[in-house]
């Protein structure tokens, strides 16, 4: 697990939270907060995906489907039903998890990576087309606009508002969700389930011989992963307040997230956060070169696959390992 979590993951997480809080009290301009908000949402998406892709070792490529399901369902229920987004996001996450179960079932029977990759990709295409075709409800590619933001929260005199245009509130909200999910995942991975995931990734046959029920575990991991991604999609929907099927479930979303995961470090717990901050941040700086954005994402993915396959998080681990080989070994054998 040390390979996944790095050393002292709780400390790393605390430092990240402290930095997050520090930024929230500093006079940071709204544009920077906007970028950080998007990074946190995408980091959450990537963490959810990372659960199957890196940690469980199932090479799924269709998690943007769950993002879209979470986003659209939450938006639809909030928009048409007048229900508060504080509630509808959970419905979005739940439906995404359910969809994860649905697509997880056929995948479980197949161990072959190409099958898993292609079937999940095809599923994402189905989802994109469904939202695009249900024009009466979603307005298709014209865009589903008017999605309500999260209801404001009041503490005595101060009222925190959310949604695009309310940068500070949105930033704090995205951070709160992201770190809550990270803390939950950290607890999970350090407990028995974490060991089980590691065992399954290392050798399915060996895990099975230890009496681990592969189907149940993989299905549970899949549903959890889809649920987290769905939640991030729902939060995204009520932040940007407009959705199009192509923007949430199109190939650009796939490559953006793949780049985040590969650059950050597939299978590394903190990889998604590093990747999301680096990519969303640095590429916003290159905003004027808008048309080169995807070119750069493509080049980054190729570059990292060749030069640093474990991403930024992997680079850090590599350095620590060399410096303290003995300590690492003791820890991992104790784990």
């Amino acid at each position: 697990m040390i390979e996944v979590l790095g050393r002292r993951p709780a400390l790393t997480l605390s430092v990240c939270v402290a930095l997050f809080l520090l930024i929230s009290v500093l006079p940071v301009n709204d544009y920077v907060l906007h970028i950080l908000t998007l990074s946190l949402i995408f980091a959450m998406f990537a963490s959810g995906w990372n659960l199957t892709l890196g940690i469980l070792g199932l090479k799924t490529l269709g998690h943007h489907a769950f993002f879209a399901i979470g986003a659209y369902l939450s938006a639809i229920v909030a928009f048409y039903g007048g229900v508060s987004p504080w509630l509808t996001i959970w419905a979005g996450a739940a439906l995404a998890a359910l969809a994860g179960l649905l697509i997880g079932l056929p995948i479980l029977r197949i161990r072959s990576m190409p099958h898993v990759a292609i079937v999940t990709l095809a599923f994402a295409e189905i989802v994109r087309l469904i939202f695009s075709n249900l024009k009466d409800i979603t307005r298709g590619e014209l865009g589903f606009w008017g999605i309500p933001p999260f209801d404001p929260v009041s503490f005595g005199e101060t009222t925190i508002r959310f949604g695009l245009g309310n940068a500070w509130g949105s930033y704090v909200l995205a951070g709160a969700f992201f770190f809550a999910v990270q803390a939950g995942l950290l607890l999970l991975l350090r407990s028995r389930p974490g060991m089980t995931f590691a065992a399954i990734r290392d050798s399915e046959a060996a895990a099975e011989s230890l009496g681990i029920n592969l189907s149940t575990w993989k299905l549970a991991a899949f549903a959890l992963s889809a649920g987290i991604v769905g939640l991030s999609g729902a939060i995204y929907a009520h932040y940007v307040m407009i959705l199009t099927p192509t923007s949430v479930a199109g190939p650009e979303m796939l490559i953006t997230l793949l780049a985040i995961i590969i650059v950050g470090g597939a299978g590394r717990f903190f990889g998604p956060l590093y990747g999301a901050l680096l990519l969303t941040g640095s590429l916003e700086l290159l905003r004027e070169f808008g048309e080169y954005r995807m070119l750069l994402y493509g080049a980054l993915v190729i570059g990292f696959v060749f030069a640093a396959p474990h991403g930024i998080a992997g680079l850090r681990i590599g350095r620590l390992r060399r410096r303290d080989r003995r300590g690492t070994r003791e820890r991992s054998s104790a784990a």
Partner: protein, 291 residues
């Protein structure tokens, strides 16, 4: 449904099916021989589309010459992709996923590169063939029918290469047992590069056949890649003949679907069919018949 409507549905299905078969059989050949999934395969169609436009429209060459030069160039590009981005990864751990990630990156790179170079203009080639064929009350432009005929001829040629030539023999040997092939002295690198070139030519041929009836644009490869993958899985991963058969089957299913559902649901039907098949027959519809 009248007989002529039914006939039209079948012919339309076979025509789009022949393109799926061209794309899918190339992917299947590559996968069967090298165990590599090339996510940049669709961009080979796109590149071929732009090349043939350039030669035939911009330079005004004769269509046949333009097509032959395009196919040669696309074959070379396919071989170069294998040499530069895929071969160096094969020796590393976890190479299967790395190849997927790297080729997805390459695919996006090529798409946005094309967008920057050629812009977002959507362009079409003039028809290669004039005239209309009448078939029992049904009128089909020769151009559309030629897609089916030429695609079949090309796949036949490809099968001939696979089963009747020395190159085909070493490709099949590598597909059947890569280590044993190495042990008798068959150079894996040559085989891998050759199958990439062949699969690129098949994809390029698909693009040329489509270019008069579809617009050439930077993203034209995306949907064909997904269909190609679907066909490869339906046909039994890595089976050339299975992919050809599954390509036609998928074309027919789509053609049938548009007679009962609005066109925008066609791909939903196709991919749902894929997932349903995987659910009941993980090894595809024609399992057990490989190269």
């Amino acid at each position: 449904m009248t007989a002529s409507l039914f006939l039209e549905m079948v012919i339309n299905g076979l025509i789009s099916g022949s393109i799926y078969a061209l794309v899918g059989s190339g992917i299947a050949l590559v996968y069967g021989t090298t165990r590599v999934l090339n996510f940049a395969h669709g961009e080979l169609l796109m590149i071929a589309g732009y090349l043939v436009l350039f030669f035939a429209v911009t330079l005004g060459w004769n269509v046949i010459l333009a097509s032959v030069v395009t196919l040669a160039l696309v074959g070379g590009i396919g071989a170069a992709i294998q040499r530069v981005t895929i071969a160096p990864l094969l020796a590393r751990e976890d190479w299967a996923f790395r190849v997927i990630a790297a080729t997805i990156g390459l695919s996006i790179l090529l798409q946005s590169g094309a967008q920057i170079v050629w812009g977002e203009q959507f362009r079409t080639l003039p028809y290669f063939f004039d005239g209309v064929v009448s078939l029992g009350g049904l009128r089909m432009p020769v151009q559309r029918l030629s897609i089916l005929v030429i695609a079949l001829a090309l796949m036949g040629l490809c099968a001939l290469v696979l089963y009747r030539t020395g190159l085909g023999r070493i490709v099949r040997a590598t597909a059947q047992d890569a280590e044993a092939a190495l042990a008798v002295g068959i150079p894996a690198g040559l085989v891998h590069t050759s199958v990439f070139a062949i699969s690129a030519v098949l994809a390029g041929a698909g693009a040329i056949l489509l270019s008069p009836i579809l617009t050439v644009n930077p993203w034209m490869g995306v949907s064909f890649l997904l269909k190609g993958f679907a066909v490869v899985i339906l046909g039994g991963l890595g089976s050339f003949g299975g992919a050809v058969a599954a390509g036609f089957l998928l074309g027919l299913i789509e053609a049938a679907s548009v007679t009962v559902l609005p066109t925008e649901w066609r791909d939903v039907v196709a991919f749902t069919f894929l997932i349903a098949v995987i659910w009941v027959r993980p090894n595809g519809l024609f399992a057990g018949r490989e190269a």
